[in-house]
Subunit: 406 residues, 2 copies
């Protein structure tokens, strides 16, 4: 029911905006590149006959009228921001698969009962500004608008100022946005579908996440005349924590994930024993009870490694969400649709957070996954097959029709 | 023979220039603070009747005429630049002890046979610009003037441009500077003199150093949907290297030192498995054969840790100097002087590099160490006792007299 080549052309055109140096994308949230990506999206949606609104946190909604516009819209969406060295499909695929649904409805001359909306959420990645999923988080009351507008980037910029600077500080309410249902297509970002040979992932929910910040304090001292036995080296302590965290992830096994993505050393001088190290921790598991165990073990290993090096360490919780199930009826609808097309499919738990995770707190929500090559994401080498892209958009199309006409 | 209170007042006055936030100093090489420190030094030396010259690499020389000015000068010196979070005495003590010698000679109406010079060397610390000891290194032909003028700082500035900006790009030859002898007073920067209860360290030489840069390459991937067993985490590999290097230092024992002072992670995002880590390595030992063994073991552990994480690693040598003995006769002169004063003293090998290490390649050289409290240096908490400061300056005074009049 959709045009695979049109979808692919749009994906490739978006990838020309904020290109990375290794074939991927660099459209960090609320930079000039993000603005250019949003502008292209808005132009495409207007050409497709949609009206555009922007809310106070910069979420963009393209609206296609239904037969009864007093009904809340069925909403599709994802994000256009990327990691610093991100892929061309993470987020972008969901937005442009949604656009392909709207264009195809136009081709077929179909007007749904409910109006439809296609959303681009602000700062899903959580890289330049952290945590992730800020736009959808404000919309669902997880964050207040004010705290998000005051968020400060790694580069020192304030989110509210950056929204104004790029022209996406909208006036629509960021908190009062009725929806009948929410559907998001996304690349899997992991290896399961590809390795097991499935064409579609029917996402039953997302695993829980707990993020932390750890500060290790030792003693700055001279790298030469300070004997090894007298050192209180904050980097050695932090290094042992990084290694022990990695072992923890392995030991828990299954879907457990433990990651240190950022680690900063002070005073950052070649001949000074580091006196302070600051690093981030990302713990994930589909079972909240296991996640709690992981947190307890993480706290213990940090204390042990610090003590073993004569250092102290403090842990600050940064962000978390529990394992989040999606709406069973809507998940079943995705499954039925994929089956009706004859696509091979399996249920899957999302390893990543998505805007859908926050929206699911308020609105019946489901997601459609497509495989990504080698399971690689958050990497410029991220890639997908055109046929998979087309299958995902087709499932999205039929699920939206079933939901918006029911 | 010297004034302890005048020396102390000058130390405290210099510490008001570029103060740190924790009671120490922040006068990074060729910053505005370094300029202000140099300006104060120049004013003091002019008040003491010296003439000033600045060479092409920014080394400053304050000259006091002798009875025979055709003879090469006996030179004292050290540095005024500091680490990012440095102490008030590292380098500064040697410069101002030298100034106190000149002032005391004035007080006593003494003119030495040889002229005297007091040198402030450019970028001894090697923190903002690296490696260390650049000014003395150009003077002794270790580095070419051009490569040093082209050195780029952590903050992106070019050394030659910074010299001009702060008004210390001089015209005197940076390579042709005759000296009869070189004497440098310095704080020990380690715990030996204090722990063993000695007042003066008679420095017999400096241990060797080998510095390296290590780049670890893994694979960027998503912190959520990427199973632990498929990860090639460059930070986990680097963490194991940091820990193994620390163990190597302990295992070699004695004076062996192994330090990682800088470690940078890419892409520096909380939810991306690091694909690249870059870090610095500083290996030290008084015996070059042991240092060679340490390098070999370091190379092996880097390869092993990389392989264990599915990563690759490359090692680039950055800077090194071999164990460097000072001039036996001059070292004996320092020892005799300290003994004549009745100061308790021992021979000691410097754990740190000093400008004296490069000067020693061309000119008879010796150093005088004084204790520093708790052995702490390269830390804002660095501290010394006034009595120790006075003793060191007195030894410098008598050694200079013995050398410049002989
Ligand atoms: N999809 C995605 O990469 N989301 C970012 C939040 C996360 O790290 O799970
Ligand atoms: N004295 C001193 O801190 N020198 C810097 C060079 C080194 O790290 O040894």
């Amino acid at each position: 029911p959709i045009s695979a080549s049109r979808l692919w052309d749009s994906l490739m055109e978006m990838a020309t905006i904020g290109p990375g140096t290794q074939g991927g994308s660099r459209r960090l949230a609320l930079t000039d590149e993000d603005r250019a990506g949003r502008d292209r999206f808005v132009a495409w949606c207007q050409q497709a006959g949609c009206t555009i609104s922007v809310d106070q946190v910069g979420n963009v909604f393209a609206r296609r009228a239904g037969r009864d516009n007093s009904l809340p819209p069925v909403v599709m969406g994802s994000h256009l921001d990327t990691q610093p060295t991100g892929g061309r499909f993470d987020g972008v695929y969901g937005v442009l698969a949604g656009l392909e649904v709207l264009r195809s409805l136009n081709d077929h001359g179909i007007t749904t009962l409910h109006p439809l909306e296609l959303a681009v959420w602000t700062n899903e990645e959580g890289s330049r500004f952290s945590p992730p999923m800020m736009g959808s988080g404000v919309l669902t009351g997880v964050f207040t608008l004010d705290e998000i507008l005051d968020a400060v980037a790694q580069d020192g910029a304030r989110l509210g100022d950056e929204l104004k600077r790029i022209g996406y500080a909208g006036t629509a309410s960021a908190t009062d946005h009725p929806m009948a249902a929410y559907l998001e297509a996304h690349i899997e970002q992991g290896p399961v579908l590809e390795v097991e040979g499935y064409q579609i992932g029917v996402v039953s929910g997302a695993q829980g996440q707990r993020w932390f910040e750890v500060t290790v304090t030792g003693q700055e001292a001279h790298a030469g005349p300070t004997p090894m036995r007298l050192r209180r080296d904050a980097l050695v302590a932090a290094a042992r924590m990084v290694d022990a965290l990695h072992h923890l992830g392995h030991r828990i096994g299954g879907d457990a994930c433990t990651t240190v993505g950022i680690l900063d050393v002070e005073p950052h001088s070649r001949n000074v024993i580091p006196g302070k190290v600051w690093f981030t921790v990302d713990l994930r598991h589909p079972d909240d009870a296991v996640l709690a165990t992981m947190e307890a073990e993480f706290r213990k290993l940090v204390a042990d490694c610090a003590a073993g090096c004569g250092c102290t360490a403090s842990i600050a919780p940064f962000w978390d969400f529990p394992a989040t199930p999606f709406a069973p009826a809507l998940v079943a609808c995705v499954e039925d649709t994929a089956r009706a097309f004859g696509f091979s499919q399996r249920r899957i738990v999302s390893g990543a957070g998505h805007d859908a995770v926050y929206i699911a707190r308020k609105v019946p929500t489901a997601m459609v996954f497509i495989p990504c090559i080698g399971g690689i994401s958050h990497n410029e080498a991220e890639d997908i097959n055109l046929d998979d892209a087309a299958r995902g958009a087709a499932v999205l199309y039929r699920t939206v029709l079933a939901t918006a006409d029911g």
